[in-house]
Symmetry: C2
Amino acid sequence: MTTLVFGHKSPDTDSTGSPLIWAWYLTEVKGAPAEAVLLGEPNTEAAFVLDRWDLPKPRIIDAVEAGQPVVIVDTNNPAELPDAINDADIQAIIDHHKLVGGLETKGPIDIRIEPLACTATIMHKMIGADLAQAPTNIKGAMLSCILSDTLEFRSPTTTQEDRAIAEALANDLEIDIPAYAAEMFAAKSDVSSFSDAELLRMDSKTYEVGGKTFRVSVLETTSPATVLSRKDSLMETMPKVATEDGADQVLLFVIDILNEEATLLVPNDLVKSVAEKSFSTVAGEGDLLVLPGVVSRKKQIIPNLAV
Amino acid sequence: MTTLVFGHKSPDTDSTGSPLIWAWYLTEVKGAPAEAVLLGEPNTEAAFVLDRWDLPKPRIIDAVEAGQPVVIVDTNNPAELPDAINDADIQAIIDHHKLVGGLETKGPIDIRIEPLACTATIMHKMIGADLAQAPTNIKGAMLSCILSDTLEFRSPTTTQEDRAIAEALANDLEIDIPAYAAEMFAAKSDVSSFSDAELLRMDSKTYEVGGKTFRVSVLETTSPATVLSRKDSLMETMPKVATEDGADQVLLFVIDILNEEATLLVPNDLVKSVAEKSFSTVAGEGDLLVLPGVVSRKKQIIPNLAV
């Protein structure tokens, strides 16, 4: 049976590109038929990357059958995966997030998790010399994943390995990194077609802190003003999204990629209190708080979150 | 702070040797001070290996402090680890068992799980060319772990990688594998100093099947008659051990390493029913059932267990 390779729900560039990379590797190098699929529509940056490299858009699935062979990439969190994921035949997990607990396998499988910025970087290491066989678009996907997850090396999650691999790929592909990253980020910043609720859910993870459940949403953009001009309707929509998704509160951080700072929307006293307890340096007042230097949910927001 | 490296409770050869291997690697190659420790007395085979290779017996701990940096090897099961393991600073996990779920980390860490027979085999791959720096006793520990976990390549968990690495190590160390493995297995078979309860708990893992909790114990031996001569008192002790450990039933499989078969002790109708539903070929009658070809709990017992 063909193995399905997928990342997390609300797929970003890494969760769109890494399944394509790994499905290529399994099928063409390992001789084990595999298909990349998505657990939702790719975001605007991922859609740009598919188009730019002439990569086929993977089909979207919303469930997996019991016993279906799968490879999970870019997450190990059951909440970000199809409901009955533990009934699938999980064959491998490749990820760069903290271990959440909850996934179970029937036997020993290949699991490779490393504290690197990007799943594609780990895949680059695992594929090794076989990457020479990869077509241009697979290498392009790899470069795009790394530039996306590192915010062009600005994120503190960036390691020397991520950077060195991206630079080698760019050299091989004759890609000018600043120019290409700017195109990617412009695509990500084009959020005009999304409703407020869609924006709040686009890149969002649920965390429990101090007995409360938060949907911690980030929007990485080179044009924060575009998003912030919608702040009133975004804040009005937050209680609805929170209720529908079983959370107490949505926290929306608008990440200014170029200026390397986050702006937190502050609709009420709970969020204000969270901001004051979580972040030592905040600027701004009223319903917008600026967090200088904060660009990474994983490294800078979640570890500090306090209620 | 020195990182503690440890395997599972009731340490066997792999859970004794692999921490020594990895602590050597972290300290001497990576320059990150690490200490191998044990979560209990090593079994008789592991004690023989320490003595044979003049390896220092690691100190035994029964708890870890919150924030203590640790590397977990040869298990990912919280039930086989200190109670507050998730409060420790888990820095890495190296294992070859199925993913159980339950371990959580505060950030992304290095996790490497592969479906190989032995943790030390994975470490051999990770250490790579740096193994040339390893002293003889670290290579001896590595060889011993692989011979132990593969039952000298008899276990169906054995992969080509396990075998090739063990043979290369034996060649390097000028060790005759059959002769050395026979010494190890003789040490493991000397169970005269253990009480019945100790034997039932020596190599035991807890599993839930069909709403019942089983302590699935194996005793790998080259002298099954020695253990089976104690079958009456072992069966008498089973209800006490089960009650004390919160299980419904102890299942004891005496693994005959040389003849490659298991003998299951059958104290009651529940165990008889489990045996009939779980294993297609059983021989023998009364309170001993022989399972030809069965030597691996992981590959042959657990996946088939039915109530």
